[in-house]
């Protein structure tokens, strides 16, 4: 059901989004970030591991897509496949090393790895990546020799976002997903119940990196250019902020968070001018302090309050995780 709701919202975006001030293309970008955020929630929301290094996967994938378009073929299919393969391999290695620690140490390790990738892109690989200028001069992406842009990109992104959301929900409801949530709840008990906790954590990490790679690759197909910002830690930070704003662990919440963040950054910022970051910071603080479950918790509380007034005052629906 929620998948159908999401599908309808996503696919009709080109019709309603301009009415609320969204410019053409911003809807595509929102859905790309939504893919990024859903995958991140499989790691953060389910297992509780907070990574500050996911920009590395997003960025590496973007570079691979860019380089494939530039040097191999303008066809998006080999570019996307290569991006996902390369990112997956890197994620297995990074995950293997960073998941040896938990809590703040894991976060710092992932941050350090992320910065290593950023530094590498700007230094030793700068002949390939274009260094500070980013990777420019990419051809218009194609699909079977047809130019692939604008609306085509939007629908590809929307379909992938819907599939991504569907898969994430299936994972969330599976025994595998239950083990991931058990990692967050009590790792020791899980280990002493005969489960290989390391493998479950690594799987969640790699799955989230695959989502990040799909998003990174789509970003370049959407706008044939790779900005150095894609591998910068600020991209990881933005991802964390949108997840928290939307509601960690709810899958739907982080997507809302992504939409809110990009809408705020691109539309509302025009009204607030330079102050927009300050206002965003205030919104973030308000949410963390008063609504730790993010927008999703806010919506649930609102629903309960309304049901409580309308009904017999016995509205204890029980919040789902």
């Amino acid at each position: 059901m929620p998948v159908i709701v999401f599908a309808v919202i996503a696919l009709t975006m080109p019709f309603w989004f301009p009415l609320v001030g969204g410019y053409a293309g911003l809807d595509t970008k929102i859905l790309i970030w939504a893919i990024f955020a859903i995958g991140f929630d499989i790691l953060l929301g389910f297992t509780g591991y907070l990574s500050f290094g996911h920009a590395a996967f997003f960025g590496v994938s973007a570079y691979v897509t860019g380089l494939m378009l530039l040097h191999y073929s303008a066809n998006i299919i080999p570019a996307m496949i290569a991006s996902v393969i390369v990112t997956t391999i890197i994620a297995v290695m990074v995950g293997f090393l960073t998941l040896r620690r938990s809590g703040i140490y894991f976060s710092i390790l992932t941050l350090a790895f992320g910065e290593m990738f950023y530094a590498a892109a700007l230094s030793i690989f700068s002949d390939w990546t274009g260094g500070d200028n980013g990777l420019t001069g990419l051809p218009t992406p194609e699909l079977f020799s047809m130019p692939f842009k604008e609306n085509n990109v939007f629908y590809l992104v929307a379909v992938l976002a819907i599939i991504g959301y569907y898969i994430a929900r299936r994972i969330g409801n599976s025994p595998f997903g239950m083990m991931l949530r058990a990692v967050k709840s009590n790792q020791t008990r899980l280990e002493f119940t005969g489960l290989d906790v390391k493998k479950y954590k690594l799987s969640a990490f790699v799955i989230s990196a695959i989502y990040a790679s799909v998003a990174g690759s789509l970003m370049v197909i959407y706008e044939p250019y790779v900005a150095t910002e894609f591998v910068h830690w600020s991209t990881s930070g933005k991802l964390v902020i949108m997840s928290v704003l939307g509601g960690v662990g709810t899958l739907f919440g982080p997507m809302i968070g992504a939409a809110f963040m990009l809408y705020f950054e691109n539309v509302i910022s025009a009204f607030l001018q330079e102050q927009w970051l300050l206002v965003l910071g205030l919104v973030f603080m308000f949410i963390v302090i008063f609504l730790p479950g993010g927008f999703v918790e806010g919506a649930q509380r609102l629903k309960r309050a309304i049901a409580g007034k309308a009904g017999d005052g016995n509205a204890s629906k029980g919040a789902s995780e």
């Binding site: 898969i167 058990a182 009590n186 899980l190 002493f192 119940t193 005969g194």
Partner: protein, 253 residues
């Protein structure tokens, strides 16, 4: 008729300069209830930790059911058939009671890892049945959809026992299962332990409460300062002067 299911042979373990276990030999017979007693800091928990793979012994070997437990991880040892009830109840607090027992039920069906990303658990009828049965066995069947963190301490202990029971372990280790419980909770827990003991599952129990020890055990091993100072049936141990000196004497309650 019985053979040892667990054989601890010449095990030593030190923490820095502290010798927590010194040359410990212990045989646990299949189907028996074997208690470990001794004053605080005697090394009882350390001995259990060595059995579950949480700690590796510095010297000596442990054999369980024909396999040596050397450099084997805790989850592998669990899959061999050793389950443990912790000193403070170890459960999944944010998950429902049913999920708490579904996890070991899936672990039993699937082994230590399975990437069943798209399986709908509702269709795994057998697994569900096992999980529900285990909850019923400890008397928690009426609150299956409730989150475990809201349970009382005694009920958390019951839930932890249910988690262990789902796995049908060959050996169950219990570290002070009645610690921190009110009198009536202690009694119902003992009742429960007796009930599940009738199924022939081997148990090793660390316990401070002497009435519990003497009423449950087939055999008792007494540890003091990392060494075994006595071993025998309840009556032998009760009358042993060394034990009275090292343990019962100093801690009369």
């Amino acid at each position: 008729m019985t053979k040892p299911i667990l054989d601890v042979s010449r095990v030593s373990k030190s923490f820095g300069g502290l010798r927590a276990l010194q040359d410990v030999n212990l045989q646990v017979m299949e189907g028996s209830i074997h208690s470990l007693i001794g004053p605080n800091g005697a090394g009882k928990s350390t001995l259990l930790n060595v059995m579950t793979g949480l700690l590796q012994p510095d010297e000596g070997t442990i054999t369980f059911d024909g396999r040596t437990l050397q450099n084997v991880t805790p989850h592998e040892i669990n899959q061999y058939g050793i389950a443990k009830v912790f000193q403070t109840p170890a459960i999944f607090p944010e998950m429902t009671l049913l999920e708490n027992t579904l996890i070991p039920a899936f672990a039993r069906r699937d082994g230590s890892f399975r990437a069943n990303l798209f399986e709908t658990p509702e269709h795994a009828h057998e697994v569900y049945e096992q999980a529900e049965e285990a909850l019923a066995e400890v008397g928690l069947q009426d609150h299956m959809k409730q989150e475990a963190r809201y349970l009382s301490r005694g009920d958390k202990r019951r839930l932890e026992l249910a988690i262990c029971l789902v796995q049908k372990p060959k050996l169950l280790l219990l570290d002070e299962p009645t610690a921190g419980m009110a009198r009536h909770e202690t009694e119902s827990t003992i009742q429960l332990l007796k009930q599940i003991s009738s199924k022939g599952m081997t148990k090793v129990i660390v316990e401070h409460d002497m009435s519990v020890v003497f009423s449950l055990s087939d055999r008792i091993t007494v540890l003091a300062q990392g060494q075994i100072i006595a071993e025998g049936g309840p009556d032998e141990v009760r009358g042993n002067p060394k034990v009275i000196e090292a343990y019962l004497g100093e801690e009369q309650e």
